[in-house]
Amino acid sequence: MTTTKQIIKNSTVVNDDWSVLRLQEGDTAETVTVPVGKTLVPLKVWLAQQTVLLHRADIGVWFASDERVEDLQDHVAKFSVIGVDFPKFGDGRGYTIAYRLRERSGYRGELRAIGDVLRDQLFYMQRAGFDAFAVRADKDIHEALKSLKDFSITYQASTDEAQPLFRRVQRGA
């Protein structure tokens, strides 16, 4: 179990009291003990223990990069925080998971990037639907904040902009 003391949320560095449960060797989704307090649990722990966890308001869930949004489909609205894990920053599946949660499942709560979350990926992450970033602990989170403003204009629609640039503005100017 790791604790992130500060995260970026809504473009500000804030203190954070959620912890992320990761299964250790020997743990199983069915038997692992979910600690008290605000906890993001792996999707498979939620699926295995949902009859108990359903009654806790301080539970969030996180997706591994190879997991599918459909597996949580009916429950998305229950959560105030959902995490998506980036095992390596070059693994881009998390962007599509975020897109699907926002665009297809209508999730409106906090969507948090966890794992190998680095400054130079935050701009794309924000566009794909993340509004919270647990920047890797060895990096300067205040420096990382700057990259959310790398671009002021974007060509495509994504979860942050429903319209592509050619419908947003008068092109050709």
Binding site: G92, Y155, Q156, Q163, V169, R171, G172, A173
Partner: protein
Amino acid sequence: MYRYDSFDHQITAERVAQFRDQVRRRLSGELAEDEFRILRLQNGLYMQIHAYMMRIAVPYGMVSSDQMRMFAHIARKYDRGYGHFTTRQNIQFNWLKLQDAPDILADLATVEMHANQTSGNCIRNTTSDEFAGVARDEIIDPRPYAEILRQWSTFHPEFGFLPRKFKFSITGATTDRAAIAVNDVGMQAVRNEQGEVGFRVLVGGGLGRTPFIGTEIAAFIPWQHILTYSESIVRVFNEYGRRDNLYKARIKILVNAIGIDEFRRQVEEDWKFTKDGPCTVTQAELERVAACFIAPAYEKLTDVILPSDNKAFSNWVARNVKPHKVAGYASVVLSLKNAGIAPGDATDAQMDAVAALSDKYSFGELRITHMQNLVLADVKQADLFALWEAAKASGLATPNIGLLTDIICCPGGDYCTLANARSITLAKAIDERFDDLDYLHDIGDVDLNISGCINACGHHHVGHIGILGVDKSGEEWYQITIGGNKGSPANIGKVIGRSFSFAQIPEVISRLLQVYVAKRDEGERFIDTLRRVGPDPFKEFVYATPVPEEAKLLMPDYELMAQGTPYDTPLYSPRF
């Protein structure tokens, strides 16, 4: 040409600032090389054996004279006075310093250019027909659609970290000159029964270690839907493409593993959410972009009878001049395949010269071809002789377009960290062996492609004759394939047998050509004869007697490139 509006300028400027800061953080040690690598690749910056290489995007191969002059400037100021035009219609500079990269991008931005996504696991530069807009067999001009795809794919937030690189190619003609069947997504313009424009879409083509010809996923996607449909293809790939094995990560492997029907089902399942949504291309946007590609102000001319008393000029016309849809005009291919020069290389002086030629003879525009040559698309036939003389003075009039010496070749072992064997030096050896122009013209069309390794940057799979560098216990050897073809129809060549040494290759090619000459029917090209008689006579003759090594190729002169140079090695070169 597409011209940037204020939004394109702003985005490009912000990209330069972003990369400048990333380079600063790398140089200060704040960014580790592992973290920086992906960032620099997405700005076209590679670390090669001797120096940094930057690949600059030339969207669908179109370049203005001012942009060409900028390449000359970069060659002079930051490189060693030359650049290299690539099979994806881009240009690369091979001798750069990391410290200079942000300034180079800033210089490029002044002429509406960039190096965005020319490498890395993202959507790459969209390629197209080098004769777009002027070809006689064109259904529609593909360039407005290529530009619309370029903007959509530039910094797409969901697709910056795909399982592997992703390449689009698009053609508007009936003859495929854009090799659409060997791209991740290939689009071919078609009209439906109502006369509406759409695209036939192929998916999962590609070369590399497992070559595949693309499979049709849709027979007709109306033009309004190309962005949403493409987005669904890439989204499914992003989710399901393999990430456990670099060599099995391309979309072709996914399509082949689950089958085209299942892949199509998944794409359509996703597409139904976005089809007809806000990302549908509007008539207004198409018209805005298409207005950049309207025909230049052609004069009303008639076709000209060219002088026939100059054999050298006639040879050049026969090979390097192509038909144009407007009477009295022609398209001209300027050859970058000259004996002793790496295929696709041009000096700063040559770049300045072609820029001037395009201003004088072709409305100030040029195209870069996937065969690594340059095209002046709109030349008056009456100007051809004068143009030929000027091109000759700059070493750009070799009359060898489509001939054996119009070799496609990767940088190979002289430059590239991946290569098993040298490519450029081999191309030079072949050039020298086949230096008799009459013989070359008699042999006619032959696509010869050389790749220094299985990553197939020289597209050896689709060469009529393909040469692949292979490693056997640390030694360089070459495997020969025959019967490949890059389009209309595309197919993959077959290996003829055991591999050869560097010094044997010219003789092997000579033997293949001897079989062709013996077996050909009147008017048949090498590939036609090969298809008719099959590969066996070729194989048998090549291996019938021992293949001698060409003595001079064993001399140290031919090893010089391999020894490298002590030029500024990159900051973190893997070899030094």
